[in-house]
């Protein structure tokens, strides 16, 4: 047998597995990937921090002493604090329904959950303007009752919820489908109530996937520009979120302040990335495979 394989296999490649490419090809592929990453990810990210500290730490900190900047940060935190928990609840409910029950229109629901990923954020923002704006469908009624949605916090929250609602659901659906219903059924036969079963059996099984989804949802909620830009109206100190504030500062040639505030978002992205990698490394098995967007 051994002399036969020696004849069949070319001597140089005898040690190589069939899926291993030639050394030169491998190095070329790695180089291309690295250069690309360097140019399009690392370099811009570095520029953000370099520009932010161009006038030293004092210049950097000055950007955050401005009232408008503080208002923008506060608004962004408020929006995320409302949108993320709501999407957590929605994501849990939707994935629970989809993974554990059979019902009509299930595939339609899955498609609808994916909708915000395929619709341009600007369009998502416009939808809310067309619904709640002064000329919109419910505009006159809202105006008559003194309720402000467009160009105010509610509008920004609504647009953010719309843009970020797939994150938690998309993460949990495959995970819950994979886990099936046997453990829940076991808990029920042992006398546990539905709520108790959810708390003691379902939730512990999905907690890492849930955290992962919330993390991505939060990063997007804080960083969203397009949809929020349309509904916010850009009122300084009132309806400007961090990304919108960055844009205004930049348009006013206030580069140091613009990059300083932008570095907050970049920092958030880095922290999210680190946490995400940690979760994948530590609890990879509990996150379900092949679903990372």
């Amino acid at each position: 047998m051994s002399d036969l394989s020696a004849v069949l296999a070319p001597p140089v490649l005898a040690q190589q597995s069939v899926v291993t490419e030639h050394k030169l090809v491998r190095q070329l592929a790695i180089t291309v990937a690295l250069v690309f990453l360097l140019l399009f990810v690392v370099l811009p990210l570095a520029v953000v921090f370099v520009e932010a500290f161009r006038r030293g730490l004092a210049g950097f900190l000055a950007a955050f002493q401005e009232a408008d900047a503080l208002a923008a940060i506060q608004l962004t935190l408020t929006v995320a604090a409302i949108a993320v928990p709501l999407n957590l609840v929605f994501g849990l409910a939707a994935s629970w329904a989809i993974a554990k029950f059979e019902f009509k229109g299930k595939s339609l629901l899955i498609t609808l959950i994916d909708l915000p990923f395929s619709v341009s954020p600007v369009v998502s923002g416009l939808i809310y303007l067309l619904l709640f704006g002064a000329q919109g469908l419910f505009g006159p009624w809202l105006m008559a009752h003194g309720i402000k949605i467009a160009f105010a916090l509610p509008g920004i929250v609504l647009a953010t919820i719309f843009v970020t609602f797939p994150f938690v659901a998309r993460q949990l659906i495959p995970l819950m489908q994979e886990q099936g219903t046997a453990e829940e059924e076991a808990a029920l036969t042992l006398g546990a109530s539905g709520w108790r079963t959810f708390l003691t059996v379902t939730l512990p099984n999905i907690k890492w996937g849930l955290l992962y989804g919330v993390l991505l949802c939060n990063a997007r909620a804080m960083g969203e520009f397009g949809a929020v830009s349309v509904v916010s109206g850009h009122i300084r100190g009132l309806t400007n979120t961090i990304p919108l504030h960055v844009e205004i500062l930049y348009n006013e040639y206030n580069f140091v302040a613009a990059f300083a505030v932008a570095s907050l978002l970049a920092g958030l992205a880095l922290v999210t990335l680190a946490l995400k990698s940690f979760l994948e490394w530590r609890h990879g098995a509990d996150l379900a495979s092949g679903t990372h967007r």
Binding site: E185, A186, L188, T189, L190, G191, P204
Partner: protein
């Protein structure tokens, strides 16, 4: 049949006219079944026969479209699964992955309402008692992932027994285990059943398992209950051709009943006495019902297409004129070779009226 139970009185289960229509497989049609107090009953059938559906309806994990389920004489049809007090064991264990063995077993006690909940010390005592029963003492702090399949299933059974269920229901409990472990667990389940005396229903597609383990066997086919009886009854007096063929090898012959006598190919079959006076019938024969005779004799003939040794007997495969094959049993000394022509004498069999 009822045994002396050490944990309360064993109750009976009555399934009355249960029907469940599914889009697709595993439906049930008007199933009536009585499970006697303290007995070990097997629900036996091929996949898609509805046996698991029936078990889930008894447990309250599924709802019947029509019909009722009674536990100890009282109607349990509308009782939610939490209130039915059943111990359910799943084919794939369904242990709580994130809980230790001890926490798994104590779960049913911990989730009780405060008024009925035993103290922590009491739960610990019961858990260790059950671990003893399933021979897993010392495994308290292990997690399900650290156990073998057989060990997991034993933990699952201990967990089900912890809540002191009124009845024990097992869904293909050994289905996911290998042959050796299966064999051990069978004997062990029998032993546990003797000790607890609980009315127990288990689902299986393995006729050997059902016949070896159960007091009575209920055979299901395509959502209908074909026969309920002791292992001897279903083997010796199968109610339908399906039961006959599902429980073991059987060859079928066209037969004719004339003047109260049974004829196959015009020759009298002496041993099998028909109940009906006249008409067409099918005669089903086990391998040991057929005796090899020289070619030209007997009720049927064919060519020997295979000879195997099976313990103290030979199994001989005979290809009949129409191409169908059947097996017969013959003593080792019988001189038979592949390719020879052979006659078959029907010595016994089970008659089913044509229809």
């Amino acid at each position: 049949m009822a045994r002396t139970a050490d944990q309360g009185q064993a109750i009976d289960i009555r399934v009355a006219g249960v029907t469940k229509a599914f889009a697709g497989t595993a439906a049930l049609y008007d199933v009536h079944l009585n499970v006697r107090p303290g007995e070990l009953l097997a629900l036996l059938g091929p996949s898609g026969s509805g046996k698991t559906t029936l078990l889930r309806i008894i447990a309250g994990l599924a709802q019947a479209d029509h019909g009722q389920v009674f536990f100890g004489g009282s109607d349990a049809t509308t009782l939610p699964v939490q209130k039915r007090q059943v111990g359910f064991v799943f084919q794939h264990y369904a242990l709580f992955k994130h809980m230790s063995v001890a926490d798994n077993i104590g779960y049913g006690l911990r989730v009780r309402e405060r008024a009925n909940r035993p103290s922590k010390a009491e739960i610990r005592r019961r858990t260790s008692e059950l671990l003893d029963l399933v021979q897993l003492s010392g495994y308290e702090s292990r997690f399900p992932a650290q156990l073998s399949g057989g060990q997991r299933q034993r933990v699952a059974l201990a967990r089900a027994l912890a809540v002191e269920p009124r009845v024990l229901l097992l869904d293909e409990p050994f289905g996911a285990l290998d042959a050796k472990v299966r064999k051990d667990l069978r004997a062990w389940l029998r032993d546990i059943h003797e000790r607890t005396g609980k009315t127990t229903v288990f689902v299986t597609h393995d006729q050997d398992e059902a016949l070896e383990l159960a007091d009575r066997v209920a055979v299901l086919n395509q959502g209908k209950l074909e026969q309920v009886g002791s292992p001897d009854e279903v083997q010796d007096h199968p109610a339908t051709p399906f039961v006959m063929t599902f429980l073991g090898q059987a060859a079928r012959f066209n037969a004719e009943i004339r003047d109260g006598r049974l004829l196959v190919n015009g020759r009298l079959v002496s041993a099998a006495a028909p109940k009906a006076a006249i008409g067409q019938a099918s005669l089903y024969c086990r391998p040991w019902h057929l005796k090899p005779v020289p070619a030209g004799h007997g009720h049927q003939h064919g060519l020997i297409s295979g000879v195997r040794r099976l313990g103290s007997m030979r199994r001989i495969e005979v290809t009949q004129v129409d191409g169908t094959r059947l097996e017969i049993e013959a003593p080792l000394v019988t001189p038979l070779r592949v390719g020879e022509e052979i006659g078959l004498e029907i010595q016994d069999g089970v008659i089913f009226r044509e229809g």
